[in-house]
């Protein structure tokens, strides 16, 4: 695109006249969407001019990563209360949550060796929930598998070994989330199975489709009856290298050392703020994100972006002079990443019994250009929300699809009519997700802001029109 387009100068009067004709026609036709489209456009102008979400995200991520139970997490919880107050909430409070406190420690390293050759360093990091090794580390033979079933089928052959799960995300899929869903089982449950079979350690190929060697962490789960063993993610190039060595050499051993450990649970909190509904204050629309993050980057996309989407959405509503008829409530959950304790605590809190949750909208897919919303609800409510599609057309976020929700709000599903996710363009998400790459420079200020505008728009619609 390069050729000169004539400047708009001189056309302004004509445009104003055309706009007036359009508005008059719409009013005559009784278009109910017009006022809302105008409000979305007002919020768009405001948001894109001020880019408030990005400056909030810069502040939030400047405090470092926010792993549950960490000091940085506590500081983020404090600062997000201030941010919600500044955004114009009528009230802001916290609700206490006991959370796990896993710490990475200082040392995490692995080297692969074939007898008679010099060992090679692998790019790796501990998975959340992994056990540590002794200070001398572990050394063991490696066995490569591509699924939990394959490990299980090996049975006794696994004993005493390091199990290497190496199934890549299927990059031929359009949806990176679907490709993630098809591979992440190895990370979440692979170590549990390996330990059950007597393995001494686990390595898992990182959940990413990018071509780099940065390891991507994430939680791994051990049943109570199962010994907690060391489990780590490998960068994809390191995974390829290890696989290549396993295919070309007879006895391949990996030496690994991890310093991580799980400390006693600590008290943390969900951060909550709300603009009280003027007509139906007991009808609540939750705007949801999570404050905790993994500790390799600073959780800029996951889920700093979601937190600032929520804070900025409230500011946009307030600034556009929208007085919601129903209560719009920000809930910034703790501990989505390794326990979901915040989501569980919010749903179980006794005062929830006297509240009526009509919708919960989670934003936890990164600060990318919004495409629309995924909605799980009854068919009548779905059609109502779908009929609002044109309200979001001016910002390209008009795809209303079936199927929505989010991890934090999932415990609320039994008591909430509509479970909704903000859907964004996810092609880049897993380049950054749970890794040292997830930093604020990977977030585009305009793309991030548009997510906040879309979220504010849907909150407005549900608050004013109900479902």
């Amino acid at each position: 695109m390069s050729q000169e387009q004539k400047p708009a100068e001189g056309k302004t009067m004509k445009r104003i006249a055309l706009a007036l004709v359009f508005i008059a026609q719409a009013l005559a036709a009784g278009d109910p969407g017009l006022q809302y489209r105008e409000l979305v456009q007002r919020m768009t102008k405001d948001g894109l001019s001020s880019l408030g979400a990005f400056s909030a995200l810069s502040d939030l991520t400047a405090g470092g990563p926010r792993l549950s139970g960490s000091e940085q997490s506590s500081r983020a919880i404090e600062s997000l209360q201030d941010a919600l107050k500044s955004s114009g909430c009528d009230s802001v409070w916290t609700e206490p949550v006991m959370v796990p406190h896993w710490v990475r420690g200082r040392v995490e390293r692995a080297r692969v060796s074939v007898s008679g050759r010099k060992s090679i360093a692998l790019s790796m990091c501990a998975l959340g929930g992994s056990g540590g090794t002794s200070p001398r580390g572990i050394v063991a033979d490696v066995i490569e598998v591509h699924s939990i079933d394959e490990a299980k089928a090996l049975g006794e052959a696994v004993r005493g070994k390091i199990v290497f799960y190496n199934r890549p995300m299927d990059r031929s899929k359009f949806s990176p989330g679907e490709a993630y869903g098809g591979a992440v089982g190895q990370r979440g449950s692979g170590a549990n199975m390996a330990s059950r079979l007597g393995a001494v350690g686990v390595l898992v190929r990182s959940m990413t489709m990018s071509g780099d060697d940065v390891p991507h962490t994430g939680s791994t789960h051990f049943d109570d009856s199962v010994k907690i063993i060391p489990a780590a993610a490998l960068g994809c190039r390191s995974a390829d290298k290890l696989s290549e060595i396993l295919h070309s050499s007879k006895r391949v051993r990996v030496a690994m050392r991890l310093d991580c450990r799980t400390l006693p649970d600590v008290e943390s909190a969900n951060v909550i703020g709300e603009i009280r509904g003027s007509e139906f204050p007991k009808d609540i629309i939750v705007l949801a994100a999570h404050t905790d993050s993994w500790d390799k980057g600073t959780g800029a996309h996951d889920d700093g972006a979601g937190c600032v989407h929520v804070v900025e959405a409230l500011r946009l509503l307030k600034h556009a002079d929208i007085h919601p008829k129903r209560t719009v409530r920000a809930v910034l959950y703790i501990n989505e990443e390794n326990g979901l304790k915040g989501g569980q605590a919010y749903a179980a809190e006794p005062r929830r019994k006297n509240e009526h949750h009509i919708a919960a909208i989670e934003t936890d897919a990164g600060g990318f250009t919004p495409r629309g919303f995924g909605v799980s609800t009854d068919s009548l409510a779905f059609e109502t929300i779908k009929s609002w599609s044109s309200i979001f057309e001016s910002i390209g976020a008009d795809r209303i699809r079936k199927g929505g929700g989010g991890a934090d709000i999932s415990p609320l599903s039994a008591q909430c009519k509509a479970m909704i996710s903000l859907n964004v363009d996810g092609q880049r998400y897993f380049d950054y997700h749970h890794s040292a790459n997830d930093t604020v420079d990977k977030v585009h200020p305009r793309e991030l802001e548009l997510g906040a505008i879309a979220l504010a728009g849907l909150a407005m619609m549900i608050a004013q029109e109900g479902i």
Copy 2:
């Protein structure tokens, strides 16, 4: 997003069964779109697995920038012929085009000074078509304006001065292209007006909304009767700095030196390749992009991305065993950036008289996630294309909107039924456009590939179904 999703293992049989039921139902209902949706899915799997567009773009940009008339441009024209042959074209040829040959030279610099203070360097680069200065440069007072009309109104006050056009792109607009359209007139025609009024030089704020200080070039036009004067783009921070100095100081002078000049026109070429239609070979669908680029980066998004979209689209069609009924023709134009000579030459070529162009689809908006197509045609043909929307839903490129085309194909409009643009998510485009930032590392392999898949899909639909 982090909680474990159960792996797909074990659900495969059920899914296959459901898919078969769905296919059977669709066939029973005579769904005409089913075969096309399947072909788009086949091309999606192929494209996203092999990421051919990105490797082609890496090769293309490794050769450096491709300014019209340059040696690198000639080499790119050669290599793109090879690429089209490899992609499976039945025939590949070039058509000669005389193009302007502007060269930047080695020196471009500017400093601002206020009497009694140390001068400050400004981040700048010459605009394409700018005149050079003498080796000693020029020094003149600066006068800031925000539009060509404002410059014109100043009249004689401009004589002997450097005119500084400082109207920013309106970032409150959702569409960056619209914001560009509202500001680029200063760059395209501001120097012409300033010279007419006796100015000795021009500085223009860069056409970008990013916060950096990288200057963005682009063409500026002088009428034949007007003296060609030095004209340069300023990085936005430098523009802000200069404006601040102008507001706080009495006499502000800028010294600038530019080495650029215009050499005699040289012969270059459009690159053309086609898959001949099996039933209606004389009906032609043009897939259009331009091979030339500005010279500060390597034209990765503008319009290397478009070139490899076109090459890859042909490969995808061939590889999916699609035998187009109508001819699908790649036209990789020269000189979109500073003359449009390639577009004019293609439309004026005598053999066009015996050809029947039914559609031209231009991709010149960067290698970002595709959203759909803009279409300018008669209302019946528009409705036909719009009815294909669901074919593109699986890759999120299903927004079919009125209004399309592109600079290269614009001279063809009188002889082509449908003028179409591939529309992509443009929020990041002007961070890179025409600047040193426009390099291959700013292009995401999957986002780029999806554009090629969308382009191949629409080419397939028009080739098989007609409009």
